[in-house]
C-alpha cells in the first residue's frame, strides 16, 4: 500500500514537472526561434531518445535474464516436487479426502436452515472443490509425465463448473515451473492465517480454519442434541489433510517458492508494462524525430515547430518513465 502511495506521489510530481515544461516549451515556441536552435533541439532530443532506448533495451535484457534465471531455478525444483513431494499416492489420498469432505459439507449445507451455518458449509465446499481441482490438474500432469493412462475417475466426480475450472488449470501449466502457481494457490486456500479467531471483515478465511470451526460446531451440536453426527469422520479427514498439506506447505516455504514466484511476477511486470510504456514514450517520438530531421529546412521549420516541441516534451516524460523503470529493475 505504501509502495502504491509512493509510486502515485512520484507520478504526480512527474506530471506537474511535465506540465511546467509543456507550458515553458509552448511559450518559447510562440516566439521566433532561429533555424539553428531548432536543429540543435531536434538533434539533442533525437540523441536523448536514442540513448534512452538503448538503456531500456539493456534493462529489458537484464529483466529477461532475471526472469529466465528464476524460471530455470523453479523448473529444476519442479521435477523434485512432482517426483517426491507430490507422489501419485499422496495426491490420490488427498483427492479422496477432499471428495469426502466436499460431499459431506454439501449435504450439511442442504440440511441447515440457518444462513450463517449454510454460508460456512458452502464456503468449505467451494474451497475444498478448488483444491480438489488444482490437485486433479497436477495429477493429470504427473500421469502424462510418467506415461500412465488417466482413468478419468477424478474428472467423473466434477460437475460442469468444476470441469471448466479443471480445464483452465490444466491448460495454465505450460511450463514446468508453473506447477508452483497451482501448489501455492492450494497452500493459500488451505492455510490458516496467523490469527484466526477474530474474522476480520473482508479477509478470506482459510479452509483449515473453516474446517476447525465446523468441527467445533458439530461437536457442540452433538452435545446439545445428544446425537452423533459425522464429526468423527470430518475430524479424521481434517487430521489427514493437516498432515499431508502441512508437509507440502512446509516444503514450499522452506524452498522459498512464494518469494521466487513473487520475484518472477515482478520481473514479468517489468518486462511487460514498464517496457511498453517506456517504448511508447521513447521509440515513437524518436521515430517522428528521425522522419522530421531530413525534412528540416528554413521553410519547413514553421510547419514542424509544434511537433518538435511535443517530442521535446515527450523526451522529458520518457526520462521520467526511464527513471521509474530503472528504479523497478533495481528492486527485482
Amino acid at each position: 500500500m505504501s509502495y502504491l502511495k509512493n509510486s502515485l506521489f512520484l507520478i504526480s510530481i512527474c506530471l506537474v514537472a511535465v506540465g511546467i515544461v509543456f507550458i515553458l516549451v509552448w511559450l518559447n515556441t510562440t516566439e521566433s526561434i532561429r533555424y539553428a536552435d531548432f536543429q540543435t533541439v531536434l538533434t539533442t532530443t533525437t540523441a536523448t531518445f536514442g540513448t534512452m532506448l538503448g538503456i531500456i533495451t539493456a534493462g529489458l535484457m537484464f529483466t529477461q535474464g532475471k526472469f529466465s534465471e528464476l524460471a530455470s531455478e523453479l523448473s529444476e525444483k519442479s521435477t523434485d516436487y512432482l517426483a517426491k513431494v507430490l507422489s501419485l499416492e499422496k495426491i490420490q489420498t488427498i483427492e479422496n479426502h477432499l471428495l469426502v469432505l466436499r460431499k459431506t459439507f454439501i449435504d450439511l449445507a442442504a440440511t441447515t436452515t440457518i444462513n450463517e451455518e449454510r454460508d460456512l458449509y458452502e464456503r468449505i465446499t467451494v474451497k475444498a472443490s478448488s483444491i480438489f481441482v488444482n490437485f486433479a490438474a497436477l495429477l493429470n500432469l504427473k500421469l502424462k509425465q510418467q506415461g500412465l493412462p488417466d482413468t478419468g475417475l477424478i474428472v467423473s466426480e466434477m460437475d460442469s463448473n468444476l470441469y471448466r475450472l479443471y480445464e483452465k488449470r490444466r491448460k495454465s501449466i505450460r511450463k514446468d515451473w508453473q506447477i508452483f502457481n497451482i501448489i501455492k494457490e492450494i497452500v493459500d486456500i488451505w492455510e490458516a492465517p496467523t490469527a484466526f479467531f477474530t474474522e476480520k471483515s473482508g479477509r478470506k478465511s482459510a479452509l483449515h480454519a473453516d474446517l476447525k470451526g465446523s468441527v467445533s460446531l458439530l461437536e457442540l451440536k452433538e452435545k446439545v442434541d445428544r446425537s452423533s453426527t459425522i464429526r468423527s469422520e470430518v475430524v479424521k479427514m481434517l487430521s489427514n489433510l493437516i498432515d499431508e498439506l502441512g508437509k507440502i506447505s512446509k516444503r514450499l516455504h522452506e524452498d522459498r517458492i512464494p518469494q521466487l514466484l513473487f520475484q518472477m511476477e515482478q520481473a514479468s511486470t517489468l518486462r511487460g508494462k514498464y517496457f511498453y510504456l517506456a517504448l511508447i514514450f521513447i521509440a515513437a517520438p524518436l521515430l517522428i524525430n528521425l522522419i522530421i530531421l531530413p525534412q528540416l529546412s528554413e521553410t519547413t521549420i514553421t510547419f514542424f515547430k509544434q511537433i518538435i516541441s511535443i517530442t521535446s516534451l515527450l523526451s522529458v516524460m520518457g526520462v521520467i518513465f526511464l527513471l521509474l523503470y530503472i528504479h523497478k529493475i533495481l528492486n527485482v
Partner: protein
C-alpha cells in the same frame, strides 16, 4: 525433530478450537437451548488451551503475572491485540479493541449479544483463572464497551481475597 513454539501453538489451536460465534449464536438462538452446553464447551476448550500454553512456555507460577502472560498469549493467538493497563500482585486489567462478538451478524439484537458476551467471557475467563491461579481463586469482570459501540472493552482480573 523438535517443534518450534509457533508450531506447537498451531497444533494446540488446531486441537482445541472454539466454534465460530457468528455461526453458533444464531443456531442456539433459533433452537432456544444449548447455552449451558456452549458455556461448558468453551470452558473445556479454553482450559485445555491454557494448560497447553503453560506447558509450552513452562509457566508454573500461580500468580497474576503468569495469568497476564497467558492472557496475552491466548488472545494473541486468537488475533487479539491487548493493551495492558495495570498489573499488580492481585489485579490485572487490560483493554481490547476487537472481539469476536463484534463480528456476529447485525440481525442479532444487542440483548442477545450481551447475553452471549457474558456467557462466553464468564466461561473463558473462568477457564483461564482456574487453570492458572487455581479453582475459584479469581474473578473477572468486563464493561462490554465494544458491543455497545464504544472504542475499547476493559477486562479486569482480580484475586478473590482482595475484593
Amino acid at each position: 525433530m523438535k517443534k518450534t513454539v509457533e508450531e506447537q501453538i498451531k497444533v494446540l489451536l488446531t486441537k482445541h478450537s472454539e466454534p465460530p460465534l457468528k455461526v453458533i449464536i444464531p443456531i442456539l438462538e433459533k433452537a432456544g437451548r444449548g447455552e449451558q452446553e456452549l458455556a461448558a464447551h468453551i470452558y473445556d476448550i479454553d482450559s485445555s488451551l491454557t494448560k497447553g500454553i503453560k506447558e509450552i512456555f513452562g509457566l508454573k507460577d500461580k500468580n497474576m503475572k503468569t495469568l497476564a502472560k497467558v492472557v496475552e498469549i491466548v488472545l494473541g493467538a486468537f488475533g487479539q491485540k491487548i493493551e495492558p493497563i495495570e498489573l499488580s500482585e492481585s489485579r490485572f486489567s487490560l483493554s481490547i479493541s476487537d472481539c469476536p462478538m463484534l463480528h456476529v451478524g447485525k440481525d442479532v439484537s444487542l440483548n442477545v449479544k450481551s447475553k452471549f458476551c457474558d456467557l462466553i467471557c464468564t466461561s473463558g475467563s473462568r477457564a483461564l483463572m482456574d487453570t492458572v491461579l487455581g479453582q475459584d481463586k479469581g474473578i473477572c469482570f468486563w464493561d462490554k464497551s465494544l458491543i455497545k459501540g464504544k472504542g475499547k472493552c476493559r477486562l479486569v482480573f482480580e484475586l478473590v481475597k482482595t475484593r
